[in-house]
Each structure stands twice: as structure tokens, then as C-alpha cells.
């Protein structure tokens, strides 16, 4: 338990991902099974049970501490677990332990005990722990760990430990359960990679390069390439054994729970790569519509009827347990077409092959995409001979996005960046004017500028500070950014009523007076309102 607590402290206070990876690697190498596996589960959020409930902690505290003082302390600290961790008063008849139990012993002990037993054990541990250890225990037990390490970074760490591509980890990750002993046996070279053939797992996806119009377009012919719409939904993988179906996001996150209507409709055995969208009233809906489903972990029946989930299939990765990755795209598309046709299903259709004879046709398609009100983001162009390779292989798939929207917005707030940019103000919140002459924030961006420009902006911010709100620095409303973005949506969460997709700084308009920046009407106009 001591080492687990040290690990969490080290990770919590480290800002850079690289340093976090190093810290986690050292821990995983030095710690025996099954402790390291439980720690891995706690960090990547794959524990499936609470060790104790939050109200148990609270009631223990109320028995031990004046409630007025506890409330004052919690208000000051801002959080219950940490308040308890710091303020826990030793029991007068505390039972001293010679050593703290190991992480796996703690987990097994809590699971084996009944309600009263859980209380006693929790008291005994808290009495014997230091504040950071108590914090680790309380966060572990209630599954409330937030240490700023994504599941992706955790997998990256494991991949580096074995010196393999992250895909290999991804390919088994979703079939494994804590404490991950088979995984570590493989990493240590004592066993083969766990066999996941009967388990529904995520299979790492293939991605496209942005097209280089000069170099790439001349290569493209209707004989060698296909063109498809690039839909503005989310890229998903539908993976099914025929009995069990899971839907994974592009990064391997299991989002089946949000889309049971789609998962239940799958009756083939295979893995499909496609775009997840919703179809209100039988028509493909906007990303904004999809967002309403994405936000719901357990969607209600009426929401599912109003916004039914739908997949536009791009590719097939596996069929009847056989990987299709090594087949050329032309053959995979035929197989996909056959599968979609034989398993007639209103929730899946296949992405259309767009007809073109030359690059002018492709240019026209891209222009058409720009007139779909954001439903279509652009055109995908894929080499028919391309194999399905995870990552971003060269000259296989291209994406050709429609031109971004541009607006002149005014810098309002800035935050310091992390890693290489630590201590530089590099995260910017900007806004547009409303009718009352008020600036309302419409988005944040932290890239799109060069290192040189970053220094200039940083310098400007330091000279134009106004108020400070914790880490957020407010500045004089005088600097104009030309902001590029892919789409705008109506958003109730933002005061301006809009949210931008993929905003970035396109240009810094040092020359432009802030009062000449765009107004919110301009954004509304883009949305066709």
C-alpha cells in the first residue's frame, strides 16, 4: 500500500506525460503481481467495484470529529476525501499494524467482509496510515482517482515497456481484466501474448493523412483510388462475436453503453470500421444531435427513438474470426458490401463510392461538402490496394477537408501551458461581441501558432494583465486572433450559446482594433440561423 500511495503522489504532481510514463514504468517493473495489476486498474479506471461507500467515510468522520470543524475544514479544502485524509483523528484504542497490507490484500479483505467488517477494516487502515496513504485508499476505494493520466498514456507506457507498438496493447487490452497477470507475464517475457480470439476487443484503427494538393493529387485516378464522404460523426469500431457486440471509439474507449440500440441490432460476427451518426426522422443528423447521445451514459427510450444511432460503414477489419487486414481495400470493400447486403439492417449502411473521373471532379465534391451545413467534413480518398494498417501509413488514405470557417475573435483569458510550454501563456480563450457590446467567450485554442509567435503573445499577455482567477489570467480586451474552426454548434453550456469544433489560431491580427472583431451574428450566420 505504501508504494501504491507513493506512486499516486508522484503521478498526481507530475505535469509532463513523458515523466508520468517513466514513473509508472519504474513502479510496474519493481512491483510484484498482483499489486501492480491492481494499481494499473485503479489508474486506468478499470476497477469494476467500490471497496466501500462514500457515506461510510462520512459517518466515520462524524463520529470522530466535531461536525462544525469538519464542515469548516471541508469548505477550505474543497473536497471530502482529502479533508478526511488530512484530518483523520486516530482512534483512542487504535490497533497498530506491524506493516501496512499490500494493495491486493487490501482489496481482497474489503471484498471478503460484510458491512460492519468493512467499517472496522477501514478504521484500522486509516489509523495506521499517513495522510497521502489515506488519500490513496479513499480514492481507490470509491473509484474517484483523478491523477491526470489518460488510458492512452497508460497503454503507451505498457507498449514501451515491451518495446512494441501500442496497437498490440490495444488489441488485447479490452479482453483483459485486473489484476492483468497474463499481460505482465507477457511483458516480462514469461508467456505469450494473451489469446483474445473469443473475446470482443478493440482493434487499432487506420488513419488518413491530410492531402498535399500539389504532390498527392496527381497520383490519384479512378482506377487506383476511391472517394468517399468524410462524415462529421465520430469514428467507431463495431466489434461483434455475433452474440456480444461492443462499440469502441477511435481511441478504444468502450461506448456501447451509450448506444444499446445499435449494439443490439448487430447480428454478424466481425469487426466493422465506420462513422457513428444519429438519424432523427430518418435523415442523418448533425454532430450536435449526436452529441446528445454521446453525453448520455444510459440513454432513455424516448431519446433513442428520437435520435436513433446509425453507422455508415467504411471498412471491414475482421469477418467470422478471420482478420481482413492483409487484404487490399478493393477486396475488403467487396466483402463489406456483401456483409451489409446479406445482413439487411436499417442501422448500418455502407459509405457510397463517389464517382469521379479526374481531380476537378474531386475539387467539386469537396465544394459540395462545404454546402452540407457541416454534415460532411470533406472527402476521403483511399488507395484501392491499401492494406488495413494501424496508425497513419503514408500514401494510403488521404483526407481532404473543406476549408475551415474563419472569424476574428478577441483574446479574453489565458492560461499557462504544460511541458515545453510551461510558464508560457499558451492556452487562449477568445470571444465575439454581442449586440450590447459585450464580449462573450466562444472557444479556446492552444495551437496554430509558431514558437516565435507564442513568445510574442506571451509577452503581450504579461504586459496586458488585468484580473486573475486562480490559474486563469484575464487580459485587456485588445488582441485579435483570426480563429479557424471546422464547425460551430449550438451549445447551452456556453454563455455565447455556441461551441466551436476544432478551433485553432489561424493568424494573429496585431493590426486589427478589437472593436472591429466579429460579432456573434457572424457565427449565427455560419450556422444558417
Amino acid at each position: 500500500m505504501e508504494r501504491f500511495s507513493d506512486l499516486l503522489d508522484d503521478l498526481y504532481f507530475t505535469n509532463s506525460n513523458l515523466a508520468k510514463e517513466m514513473i509508472l514504468t519504474q513502479y510496474l517493473r519493481a512491483t510484484p503481481d498482483p499489486d501492480r495489476g491492481w494499481a494499473l486498474a485503479a489508474i486506468s479506471g478499470t476497477l469494476s467495484f467500490d471497496l466501500f461507500k462514500r457515506n461510510v467515510i462520512k459517518s466515520l468522520m462524524m463520529e470522530r470529529m466535531d461536525p462544525v470543524l469538519f464542515d469548516m475544514a471541508r469548505d477550505y479544502v474543497g473536497e471530502m476525501s482529502e479533508t478526511v485524509a488530512l484530518a483523520w483523528p486516530q482512534s483512542p484504542d487504535a490497533v497498530r499494524l506491524n506493516r501496512l497490507p499490500d494493495l491486493h490484500e487490501v482489496i481482497a479483505e474489503f471484498q471478503a467482509r460484510d458491512k460492519a467488517g468493512i467499517r472496522d477494516y477501514l478504521i484500522n487502515l486509516l489509523d495506521n496510515m499517513s495522510p497521502p496513504q489515506r488519500w490513496a485508499l479513499l480514492k481507490l476505494g470509491t473509484r474517484g482517482l483523478r491523477i491526470g493520466m489518460s488510458a492512452r498514456t497508460v497503454k503507451q507506457t505498457l507498449a514501451k515497456m515491451k518495446d512494441v507498438e501500442i496497437d498490440i496493447i490495444e488489441s488485447v487490452w479490452h479482453g483483459l481484466t485486473p489484476p492483468y497477470t497474463e499481460l505482465f507475464a507477457w511483458i516480462d517475457g514469461k508467456a505469450d501474448l494473451p489469446d483474445m480470439s473469443d473475446v470482443v476487443t478493440f482493434s487499432p484503427v487506420m488513419l488518413a493523412h491530410p492531402i498535399d494538393e500539389e504532390k498527392d493529387l496527381p497520383r490519384i485516378t479512378p482506377q487506383t483510388h476511391i472517394a468517399e464522404w468524410k462524415w462529421d460523426g465520430i469514428r467507431v469500431q463495431v466489434s461483434s462475436t455475433g452474440k456480444e457486440t461492443k462499440i469502441f471509439s477511435r481511441k478504444g474507449e468502450d461506448i456501447s453503453g451509450s448506444f444499446p440500440d445499435l449494439a443490439q441490432a448487430i447480428d454478424f460476427r466481425g469487426v466493422i470500421d465506420g462513422e457513428l451518426l444519429v438519424k432523427p426522422n430518418g435523415e442523418i443528423g448533425s454532430f450536435n444531435d449526436l452529441q446528445q447521445r454521446l453525453n448520455k451514459k444510459k440513454p432513455g427510450k424516448s431519446l433513442m427513438e428520437k435520435l436513433p444511432a446509425h453507422v455508415i460503414a467504411y471498412d471491414i477489419i475482421e469477418q467470422d474470426g478471420v482478420s481482413q487486414r492483409a487484404l487490399p481495400l478493393s477486396q475488403r470493400r467487396s466483402a463489406l458490401a456483401e456483409l451489409v447486403a446479406t445482413h439487411e439492417n436499417e442501422r448500418i449502411d455502407m459509405s457510397e463510392d463517389l464517382t469521379f473521373s479526374d481531380t476537378d471532379d474531386l475539387r467539386n465534391l469537396r465544394k459540395q461538402a462545404a454546402q452540407t451545413g457541416g454534415l460532411i467534413e470533406g472527402v476521403m480518398i483511399k488507395d484501392l490496394s491499401s492494406l488495413y494498417v494501424s496508425g497513419r501509413p503514408k500514401h494510403a488514405w488521404y483526407k481532404w477537408k473543406r476549408d475551415p470557417f474563419l472569424l476574428d475573435a478577441v483574446l479574453m483569458y489565458a492560461r499557462r501551458g504544460t511541458g515545453k510550454r510551461s510558464s508560457f501563456y499558451s492556452d487562449y480563450t477568445f470571444g465575439l461581441w454581442n449586440d450590447e457590446g459585450e464580449l462573450l467567450p466562444i472557444g479556446k485554442a492552444y495551437f496554430g501558432f509558431t514558437d516565435e509567435e507564442l513568445k510574442e503573445i506571451d509577452n503581450w499577455i504579461r504586459r496586458n494583465k488585468t484580473q486573475r482567477f486562480g490559474p486563469v489570467q484575464e487580459v485587456k480586451k485588445e488582441l485579435v486572433f483570426e480563429v479557424a474552426f471546422d464547425a460551430a454548434q449550438i451549445s447551452k453550456r456556453h454563455k455565447s450559446g455556441f461551441a466551436l469544433r476544432f478551433p485553432r489560431i489561424h493568424r494573429i491580427r496585431w493590426d486589427k482594433p478589437a472593436n472591429e472583431a466579429d460579432r456573434l451574428d457572424a457565427l449565427a450566420a455560419l450556422l444558417g440561423q
Binding site: 477550505y76 474543497g78 484530518a87
Partner: protein, 332 residues
């Protein structure tokens, strides 16, 4: 005793205790900037505190200084006697003991009870009225032993030998206490120091403190970034994530402060390592000290006043909030 806009005023001696504006007669408990100010006509303090004030240009030629070593009694006139008892806060820090008409008032200034190799330990002075601070007066503040925090820093130096450990410390007291404790824990490398910490460190050395070898960062050529890798660089807290720290290869910003016990506070400062190093009494020590003085009345100057007052009253003591303004909590 009155609370006036300039600060705490002791009527029988016509003197202020740690006033934050210039006054005619000031009793100064210690050299931190929120207690010691410039421009007073007459100053009473320990010799060490006077020396600190002189180094910081708080004393002018025309200032009338009276240096009183711990325990030395001084007649303030009108039947008032002043003497200083050690407060254990920083070098020269003192509790002001005022005796008048058979009543003894102790104004403790800032104090701590945890051991500190760079200053004299706190002395409990039985009194009728005890005037205490409440900076860390919440049950969540239970300061760990400094050795454990120093060990955390040493562990990190071993685990991340390529990173420059930049430790933000207040220039007076905390800097020297941390250096000394690191030496006692066996750290043998030179300390690299921001210029702002130099004069007060030399002042401590003048009182016989030995911090081993230290060098100014500014005296090492900019190109020699590798010199600092895996070493400790000390600077004022504001510098750990500022331009100054950009000169180091792979810096690891660390803050040493009592506030660091609260994780969110450490994150706000963008500290990657939080060392709980406090020169104030923690919750348990505040209450224990109030009890040990045997005082009938406890007056609370600044900090989490409400919580301490509540806790003392729950224990049957008479406690009153003075609500002094102007004490800067970020200076801890």
C-alpha cells in the same frame, strides 16, 4: 490592548506590536515583511531581528533601536516591562512579553513548535492573555516532520536525476531551514541559489549557521545547463514557473510551504512536487500552546480565526477574534 488601523496597540506603553504602518514606537516580533515594516521612530526587537531589518533596509539612521536578547527585561516606562521569549518561527523570532500592574500579556507573533535547526525553540510563557496567530488553524493542518519531506525531495533526486529540482522557498527562514535539514539528511551537493536569497543566507551564516557549499545561479554561464541537472536550485516561490526557470534543463518545479498540504493549492502553483514545510504551528500545536500558557484569555490575530476560536471555546477557554487585517497569507 486595542486594535487600531495601524495594528495592535498596547496603551500603557504607547507602543504598537508589528504595525503595518509607520508608528512612533514599535515592538517587532520577527523580520518577515508582513510584521516588520520601515519608518518607525523607535524599534524594540531581538538583535537578530534588528539585523534582518537592517539588511532589508527597514531601519534608517534616525531610527532609535533597542536590541533585547531573549529573556532580557526592559523598562518601557509607565510601569511596563518588556522582554522577549523565543518563538521558534525563524532566526530571532520572539514573543513579546508585556508586564504591567501584575498582568502579563504575551503577543506570540508567528510561532511554531516543530524542531528547527536554524532557530531557538519556542518557549512557553505562562500568562494572563495569550495573543496567537491562526494561520493553519484547521484540523486538516497536521504538519509532517520536516525530515519526511526532505526525504521526499531526496527520493525524487534519485528517481529523476536528469531534472533540475527548482524549489520555491521564502527567502527568510524557510530557505535556510530547508538547506540545513538537507545537510543533516546527508545531501552533499552545492546548493544553487537565486540572488534574492543570498543576503539573508549570509546573515544566517554570520550567526554561525553552516549550510555547506552554495553558489549563485547567476554566476554559472548560461550554456552550462547540465550543471543543475539532478541538483537543487533554490529561489523565491514566484520564480519556479517563471521566465527565470526557463534557463534550466528539464526543471521540476517544487514548492515548500505549509499550504502544500492541500493538493489543489500545489496544483494551482503548478508545483510538481509539494513539500509541506511550514514555519507556523499546526492545528494540534496551536491548541496545545494556548492550553499550556494557562491564559484566561486567548486573542486571535489572523488566519482561520473562526475555527480556532470555536475549538478553544469548545474546550472551555475564553477566545476572542481581533481580526487584524494586513497579514499576507501567501507569505507563509
Amino acid at each position: 490592548m486595542q486594535v487600531r488601523p495601524q495594528g495592535l496597540y498596547y496603551v500603557p506603553a504607547d507602543a504598537y506590536i508589528d504595525p503595518h504602518d509607520a508608528v512612533g514606537r514599535a515592538i517587532i516580533t520577527h523580520g518577515h515583511a508582513d510584521h516588520a515594516r520601515d519608518g518607525h521612530g523607535e524599534v524594540f526587537a531581538t538583535p537578530e531581528t534588528l539585523e534582518i531589518m537592517r539588511t532589508r533596509y527597514y531601519l534608517k539612521d534616525e531610527t532609535q533601536e533597542t536590541g533585547l536578547a531573549y529573556g532580557t527585561r526592559h523598562d518601557l516606562g509607565n510601569g511596563v516591562t518588556l522582554w522577549f521569549a523565543s518563538a521558534g518561527h525563524i532566526l530571532g523570532s520572539a514573543q513579546a512579553v508585556l508586564e504591567y500592574n501584575g498582568t502579563r500579556i504575551v503577543a506570540a507573533g508567528d510561532y511554531k513548535r516543530h524542531p528547527d535547526p536554524t532557530c531557538t525553540p519556542f518557549e512557553v510563557v505562562p500568562c494572563d492573555v495569550f495573543i496567537t496567530e491562526a494561520t493553519f488553524a484547521l484540523p486538516v493542518f497536521q504538519h509532517p516532520p520536516l525530515e519526511a519531506e526532505v526525504e521526499k525531495l531526496l527520493r525524487s533526486l534519485r528517481a529523476l536525476p536528469h531534472r533540475t529540482h527548482i524549489v520555491g522557498v521564502y527567502a527568510l527562514g524557510k530557505c535556510q531551514r530547508l538547506m540545513k535539514t538537507l545537510r543533516l539528511a546527508g545531501y552533499e551537493e552545492p546548493f544553487y541559489m537565486h540572488g534574492a536569497l543570498k543576503r539573508l543566507t549570509e546573515l544566517y551564516e554570520g550567526y554561525g549557521q553552516d549550510f555547506g557549499a552554495w553558489e549563485l545561479v547567476s554566476e554559472i554561464p548560461r550554456a552550462d545547463k547540465h550543471v543543475f541537472q539532478g541538483k537543487i536550485v533554490l529561489c523565491p516561490p514566484a520564480q519556479i514557473n517563471d521566465r527565470w526557470s526557463r534557463r534550466f534543463a528539464d526543471p521540476l518545479p517544487t514548492v515548500a510551504s505549509g499550504w502544500m498540504q492541500i493538493r489543489a493549492r500545489a496544483r494551482q502553483k503548478r508545483a510538481e512536487m509539494a513539500l509541506v514545510v511550514s514555519d507556523h504551528a499546526d492545528w494540534g500545536d496551536l491548541i496545545r500552546t494556548c492550553e499550556e500558557t494557562g491564559a484566561d484569555n486567548i486573542w486571535i490575530t489572523h488566519g482561520r480565526v473562526e475555527a480556532l476560536q470555536y475549538a478553544l471555546e469548545q474546550r472551555g477557554m475564553k477566545a476572542k477574534a481581533l481580526n487584524l487585517i494586513g497579514r499576507d497569507e501567501s507569505v507563509e
